[in-house]
Symmetry: C2
Subunit: 333 residues, 2 copies
Amino acid sequence: MIETPYLLFLGDAPDPLAAKVAQGIRDWRPDHAVGQYRMEGCKADLGLADMSLAEAKAAGARTLVIGVANRGGIISPAWKKVLVAALEEGFDLASGLHNLLRDEPDLAAVATACGRQLHDVRVPSVKYPIASGVPRSGKRCLAVGTDCSVGKMYTALAMDSEMKVRGLKSSFRATGQTGILITGDGVPLDAVVADFMAGSVEWLTPDNDADHWDMIEGQGSLFHVSYSGVTMALVHGGQPDALILCDEPTRPHMRGLPGYKLPSLEDLRDVALTLARVANPACQVIGISVNTQHMTEEQALAHLAEVEARMGLPAVDPFRQGAGRLVDALSAV
Amino acid sequence: MIETPYLLFLGDAPDPLAAKVAQGIRDWRPDHAVGQYRMEGCKADLGLADMSLAEAKAAGARTLVIGVANRGGIISPAWKKVLVAALEEGFDLASGLHNLLRDEPDLAAVATACGRQLHDVRVPSVKYPIASGVPRSGKRCLAVGTDCSVGKMYTALAMDSEMKVRGLKSSFRATGQTGILITGDGVPLDAVVADFMAGSVEWLTPDNDADHWDMIEGQGSLFHVSYSGVTMALVHGGQPDALILCDEPTRPHMRGLPGYKLPSLEDLRDVALTLARVANPACQVIGISVNTQHMTEEQALAHLAEVEARMGLPAVDPFRQGAGRLVDALSAV
């Protein structure tokens, strides 16, 4: 559990895209974002107040979150200076970088000396159980994709926000680095040891109120041969009551797999539902979320109408249209 | 890679079943088994020559393999005495125990001093890649089960033996502790980090001669909610050309999951084949292996005849009948 609120470290981001983790926090958990810390030459700007470490501390920030990708796979001396100063100022540090903070001897030593925490969210910090398969109370919704990176996290976050706007009970359950940094906790599923994957998802989505929904962040795809085992653990460990099918219709092949075509939404529906019903016989596919960022508004609306008619399910792009109709569909479950 | 041949350590096994790893080596790789080492009170006997460490060394043994389960989750002082003496005598040690040899300070120190290896086969020793999905040459056969522990390893080992008897090219590819100790190498798949599962299976079953078969040891079941992600990685990483369906028809529920019924062979066939064809569109289900150990001979034969007629595929119990008909079916692929 990472202490909130955050000061968002944008470093010397070469462009806005490099700071997409920070942007995610800004968009989805604005209450967590007290301010931003930018170094000389930073080309990203979240529109938050620029703060020094002392100013952020005074404003209540507890953790400095590295919200930017690092260049060349190293934590540069210039970054180090800020990170060490932040620890000395009393901040914990949180990072989703491949290089672990704990593996940097200077950061580790200063953190120990100052009594501060280093959160490397790529590494599991919990000893997860083996999945028991025992039915749980409360309801769970899982986004499953035709491919990786088609908008599963965005869909779950958008549905969670809409639920909260309506005063309904909902928790976004993060299963990847960005999601964990946005919400402050979760399971870094791709780094969990095979035998404990489904158990970690059960741990993440425990018994809850009968009218509470967990919006589980999806990972990978049942049709992506590199990562399908991770997706399978979500389908079985998550015991979803509702599935959302996610698609990006302009992609020529599976991400990183030039020889592999994307499955149809029908194929995804049939396979995902068959497997999900092993763990929860009542599971239903309730809607479709389409990432139409590479289409014009006109193309997008035509495509969504065609998918909706063909599949007999609400089909929306939550970025263009909001997640209202997907949340509407949950109420029928 | 564990150096062969072995001296099989049976310790103070309380009964023959406790030595089932040693029995597996004895049954499937008799050339690897130079002799057995038994302590006072040992109730297991593989019918091999009882040897002292010095005798086994003289007979050419290179590695002492712990072929017996330990009691109470500890490596006892009595075992330690033998293990230390074996290192000093020049043996490497190999173990599939949950307690790792390397975590015992005395064993680790003696091994270093003597220049010997400690092989803990539960722990991956390789940095596996992420799966690429690129088609590989050679052919691969994977056993998939209605449940865990229904005879997948036995089936693959029996088919591999039959292939070799016929002079055909075959490799058994181990994915679990017992299989790794039997053959001397493999991937401990249940201990691999999620993102690298499918890649480890690709690594295990590389390009090969066009007429060579890898007989891949299955794990878990696509229908077992605790371990299905591991099975999925085998189905996609293994790129199987042929699937064998494995069943144990008397089991009242999924292993360890009292609330879960076993799927039908038809359900297993349909789901496994749909998923396998993502990675290899030519994949076929070629036969059925039934573990009939809890049936009389008459019951077993009647059941196999019924399954064979119903599924339109050869159905055999390789323990009762050998794997000949399953190997016959491979030649059609």
